[in-house]
């Protein structure tokens, strides 16, 4: 029961990070654009809107990309993969995901350091720390590592010999 609850919490957290936050970011970006145009002609030009839109766009891109990784919606070059059998396809997946996993592991700490370092700077108008603005990059790296780890684990587990059913 405890496991089920933790599993549900994990899935909900993933949905929030990968689906709801990018959807909300994009919605806010769209609304802010409309406010920007309306205010320019009806009231007074706003200065914070561009900064906000860029930030929302960055968040939509990075977290939306994690969502797309979940159901393999990214652009791939699949000519070689599609022309081989299931065993070779698994080997290709293992090699590809393994390389990606290694690269993202290498980059995790330096990326974290860079994002933390950017905290010295604040957005010109909104005065938000750039560490916060750039923080989805860390979420993107960690979520990608998690997703790749899960894919590697699934493929590796399928390599293990199946137990014969008892006569």
């Amino acid at each position: 029961m405890q496991m089920r609850l933790s599993g549900r919490i994990l899935l909900t957290t993933l949905d929030v990070l990968e689906i709801y936050i990018p959807t909300l970011s994009f919605t806010l970006m769209f609304v802010v654009f409309i406010i920007e145009i309306a205010w320019r002609y009806l009231v007074v030009p706003l200065t914070w809107t561009m900064e906000f839109s860029l930030m929302a766009f960055l968040w939509t891109t990075l977290l939306g990309a994690c969502w797309a990784l979940r159901d393999d919606s990214h652009v791939v070059f699949g000519l070689v993969y599609d022309s081989v059998g299931p065993t070779a396809q698994r080997a290709i997946r293992l090699a590809g995901n393994g390389l990606l996993f290694l690269a993202f592991c290498i980059a995790l700490y330096p990326s974290w350091k860079f994002v933390a370092f950017m905290g010295f700077k604040k957005a010109d108008v909104m005065q938000i720390s750039m560490s916060i603005v750039f923080s989805p990059y860390i979420a993107f790296t960690v979520l990608t590592l998690g997703r790749l780890g899960y894919k590697l684990w699934t493929d590796l587990r399928s390599l293990a010999p199946r137990k014969e059913a008892c006569p």
Binding site: M29, L54, T61, H74, F77, L79, L100, I106, A107
Partner: protein, 433 residues
């Protein structure tokens, strides 16, 4: 060639061979390069640095999710259906009527969105179904729908032209204007082919619509047809930037779908927003990944080396354009438009500048070239989409697409060697000298 560069190129090759998502493969190649490279300008964190610092200042890129949003609203609500009905009343009575309707429908739809895939996956379903009902072979219907979908990013607005503007510094407004005549010519060329093949195969003449019905369909479709007028009018009157125009077009599409046609409920709207966020993730992540990729290409002086190679072959700009067109057509057979745009276009841009070729002219030519790549096997995304939608084998679709691809290649070379085809409208409206 240095060891980090060899590793970088090897990793990008493995990205292709191991079916790694292109964006993630670009990031991976950059990380491995920075891991092995030495010097103050190449720490591993440079991959994150290039991604974040550049994405955070590229205001022009904000147009991308907004155009995606507009296209998704159109495809979800009944706007596409109305435009199709309007196109049917316009040209449906001709010989091969539904074929012509398919092309006109794509041309109108392309004035609202900027993506060939959105055109193929949205109105494409309706176009194929209508052609099937009228007795056209599935393979021909799929081929024509795929070919007409390529008008999407040529006739303004255009997502690939936004990317090209980011890379080259050419004005988005001028690029959009430059695509107007070529977009209409693509429709004319494809309709000429439809006429020829309809006579040869005796395809049916569509139903002739009476004047009263024509007026009714036109008036009912008018709010939808106003979308490109609002979009382009607001840009060229100087009221809004091309990026803001994407928001205006989306708002207009939203208002008419919800309030006028009453074809978009809250639940559908939430799904549209979710779909836009995901598509933005798949498209824009490639742009972000390409920043560190391009940084490495620049610090390794690859454009200089390739430029020297090109210039050793020829210094004649017409010969250069011929070579580039052939090279990009070959690349388009194997690669998606995004890697071509972000890996290969920045490599040839310095030579384009050096030879004095107009950046707007080159941009429109290269975007059409890449759109043709979406139709050419073995890797033609539009062919795959059509095959999936119509549940039709790829081979007959490919065979039917070949003459249409040939027609578009003729237009490509016409545009290449008669720059006025592209530059006439931007010059007329004072966007370029």
């Amino acid at each position: 060639m240095s060891l980090p560069l060899i590793i970088f190129l090897l990793m990008f090759t493995l990205t292709m061979l191991l079916r790694i998502p292109i964006a993630f493969g670009m990031i991976m190649s950059s990380i491995f390069y920075f891991t092995f490279a030495t010097g103050p300008h190449v720490p591993i964190s440079m991959a994150a640095n290039q991604f974040l610092s550049n994405m955070n200042v590229s205001f022009i890129l904000l147009a991308v999710p907004l155009y995606i949003f507009a296209a998704t609203i159109m495809n979800t609500s009944m706007v596409t259906e109305l435009i199709f009905r309007f196109a049917n009343t316009l040209v449906g009575r001709w010989k091969g009527g539904i074929g012509h309707v398919n092309v006109i429908n794509s041309l109108i739809f392309s004035g609202m969105t900027g993506s060939a895939v959105a055109d193929a996956a949205g109105p494409g379903i309706m176009e194929i179904e209508a052609m099937r009902k009228s007795g056209y072979e599935d393979a021909f219907s799929c081929a024509l729908t795929a070919a007409s979908a390529t008008i999407g990013p040529i006739f303004p607005p255009s997502i690939p032209m936004v990317f090209y503007s980011l890379l080259s510094g050419a004005s988005v407004g001028a690029l959009f204007m430059g695509g107007m005549v070529p977009g209409v010519l693509m429709a004319v060329f494809l309709m000429a082919y439809v006429s020829y093949i309809s006579n040869k195969r005796n395809y049916p003449t569509g139903v002739s619509v009476g004047f009263r019905e024509f007026v009714r369909d036109t008036l009912y479709a008018l709010p939808a047809l106003l979308t490109p007028v609002i979009l382009l009018g607001s840009i060229y009157s100087g009221l809004v930037t091309p990026t803001e125009a994407g928001a205006l077009a989306s708002l207009w599409a939203l208002v008419i779908s919800v309030a006028f046609y009453r074809s978009l409920g809250w639940r559908q709207l939430v799904e549209v927003l979710k779909s836009t966020a995901k598509t933005t993730g798949t498209v824009s992540i490639i742009v972000g990944a390409a920043f560190s990729f391009s940084y490495i290409i620049a610090i390794e002086h690859i454009p200089v080396a390739i430029g020297q190679l090109f210039l050793s072959i020829t210094t004649n700009k017409y010969a250069f354009l011929f070579i580039v067109n052939v090279l990009f057509l070959v690349l388009g057979m194997f690669l998606d438009t995004m890697p071509i745009m972000f890996v290969f276009v920045p490599i040839v841009l310095p030579i384009v500048n050096q030879l004095g070729i107009d950046l707007v002219h080159f941009g429109v030519v290269i975007v059409l070239n890449m759109m043709i790549g979406l139709l050419t096997p073995p890797y033609g995304v539009l062919l795959f989409i059509m095959s999936g939608i119509a549940k039709t084998p790829l081979k007959p679709i490919i065979i039917e697409t070949l003459p249409m691809t040939g027609t578009l290649i003729v237009l490509l070379f016409l545009m290449t060697y008669v720059p006025e085809v592209v530059l006439f409208v931007p010059r007329l409206l004072g966007q370029i000298k």
